[in-house]
């Protein structure tokens, strides 16, 4: 048992429970960074983006407090985000971001840019970086630049990428997504790619599980796809 895990367990025994449904995964976070018990991803395809996550909320990696929570938060009509880190921090930040974004949208008299949404989250994360512990993946569609994926890390860095993965389960699928991602996929290919990646991560990470929530965002609108556990693709299971 490494030092970080021992320390976490000691804290819990002393009564310092961490009240979050997405628990800090007891990995050696000194090396890997704090990540939440989850798998989230967002991928750009030809004409839109797909944002997805698992649906498990766990406490301490030993109790599943919810099998079906939806970690994909709609912060505007065609802009979604999913969270890594403390659920309380994430809820507070997204609530603030939703308000700021709708206000901005009214002022501009047009739907907000995805970059604007990501920027708002970044501002909040960066200015309060000492107190917060939440990172975001923002994805959406706007008229100016079409489909986009942004990641806002825990300290407040903003990065635009063709695809991105996050959460504790993402560690196990870096190799897979690196090998399988191609730019300009079709909607079906991208859906298969995202479902496969989530299924593989769920298969290896014990704090990710349940169903796969996927949201497809295109110019035409938003579509929520749910793939229940038994319909997830099965890979060579020894």
């Amino acid at each position: 048992m490494n030092e970080a895990t021992q320390y976490n367990l000691k804290l819990e025994r002393l009564g310092y429970h961490q009240f979050r449904t997405m628990e800090r995964h007891p990995t050696n976070y000194l090396c890997k960074g704090v990540s939440t018990g989850t798998t989230i991803l967002a991928v750009k395809f030809n004409g839109g983006v797909i944002i997805g996550s698992d649906s498990r909320a766990s406490v301490g990696g030993s109790y599943v407090s919810s099998k079906v929570i939806n970690k994909l938060i709609q912060i505007h009509d065609k802009i979604f985000c999913c969270i890594a880190g403390s659920l309380a921090d994430a809820q507070a930040v997204t609530k603030m971001a939703k308000f700021q974004l709708s206000f901005h949208s009214i002022q501009m008299d047009s739907p907000p840019l995805v970059k604007a949404a990501a920027s708002v989250l970044k501002e909040l994360c960066y200015s309060n970086r000492e107190d917060l512990e939440a990172g975001f993946i923002t994805a959406g569609w706007d008229k100016k630049r079409g489909p986009q994926v942004y990641t806002v890390s825990m300290g407040g860095m903003l990065l635009s990428q063709p695809f991105t993965i996050g959460g504790s389960g993402s560690t196990y699928i870096y190799g897979y997504v690196d090998a399988k991602y191609k730019p300009d996929m079709s909607r079906e290919e991208c859906l298969q790619f995202a479902t496969n990646a989530l299924a593989l991560a769920i298969g290896r990470d014990n704090v990710s599980g349940g169903v796969a929530h996927l949201v497809v965002i295109t110019e035409g609108g938003v579509e929520h796809v749910v793939v229940p556990g038994e319909k997830l693709p099965k890979f060579h299971d020894e």
């Binding site: 000194l30 063709p162 593989l200």
Partner: protein
């Protein structure tokens, strides 16, 4: 947490004359892999050994022969794994002479497990034992940190292995040929080396079968590249 307080102390006082990497233990933070195929095994590893942030050896050979047709792939503390493999090599050699026939891969794996389990508190070693013997053909056994022993058709280990579980799960098929296994191993190791800071250098591969051991090296510039970003 000792590691965190060490960093905090260093901020306040004058830095030591010796750089950070001279105070760190030598580690084979690594990626290792072994796959069974019909007729033998393919094993592979990266070639980086680090002391902290310094790469002490960029062309390490982590595929260590234990016997004529039995190899082990080492990950974890370089000192620990070298000591364990030396001890097991000796024990296995002696056993083989007593038996007057080549030892079983399972025997080698059990010797590793005995040592890793008995001294689990002191050791930091994750080992994959792979080889060929007449009784059971190609076999892969994994002895991770803690001293468990299990046989698997394909096994990955080391710090870089976390990143390729998904890739290995989705791409492994039973009954692959020798060439397919080599391709599969080289690709998986390249992906891990691209993401893991403690893995890198060249890819060392070896095929162990009835006919002997065939070693290959895939140099850095010949590795498949995957960056789409």
């Amino acid at each position: 947490m000792a590691a965190v307080s060490l960093v905090r102390c260093e901020r306040g006082f004058a830095r030591d004359a010796a750089p950070d990497w001279m105070r760190q233990e030598l580690r084979t933070g690594t990626t290792i892999m072994a796959v069974e195929f019909d007729g033998g095994v393919v094993i592979g590893a990266d070639s980086r050994t680090t002391t902290g942030a310094y790469i002490a050896n960029r062309v390490t050979d982590k595929l260590t022969p234990i016997h004529e047709r039995i190899f082990c792939c080492r990950s974890g503390s370089a000192a620990d794994t070298q000591a364990i493999s030396d001890a097991v090599t000796y024990q296995l050699g002696f056993h083989s002479i007593e038996l007057d026939e080549p030892p079983l891969v399972q025997t080698a794996a059990n010797l590793f497990r005995e040592m890793c389990y008995r001294y689990r508190e002191e050791l930091m070693a994750g080992i994959i034992v792979a080889g060929w013997d007449k009784r059971r053909g190609g076999q892969v056994y994994t002895v991770p940190v803690g001293g468990m022993l299990t046989r698997q058709p394909v096994s990955v280990g080391g710090s870089g292995s976390s990143y390729i579980y998904g890739y290995v799960d989705s791409n492994y098929r039973a009954h692959m040929s020798k060439e397919e296994c080599l391709q599969f191993t080289a690709q998986a190791l390249s992906l891990a080396m691209e993401r893991d800071g403690s893995s890198g250098g060249v890819v060392r591969l070896a095929v162990i079968s009835e006919h002997g051991v065939e070693r290959r090296v895939v140099a850095g510039n010949q590795l498949p590249s995957f960056s789409a970003i």
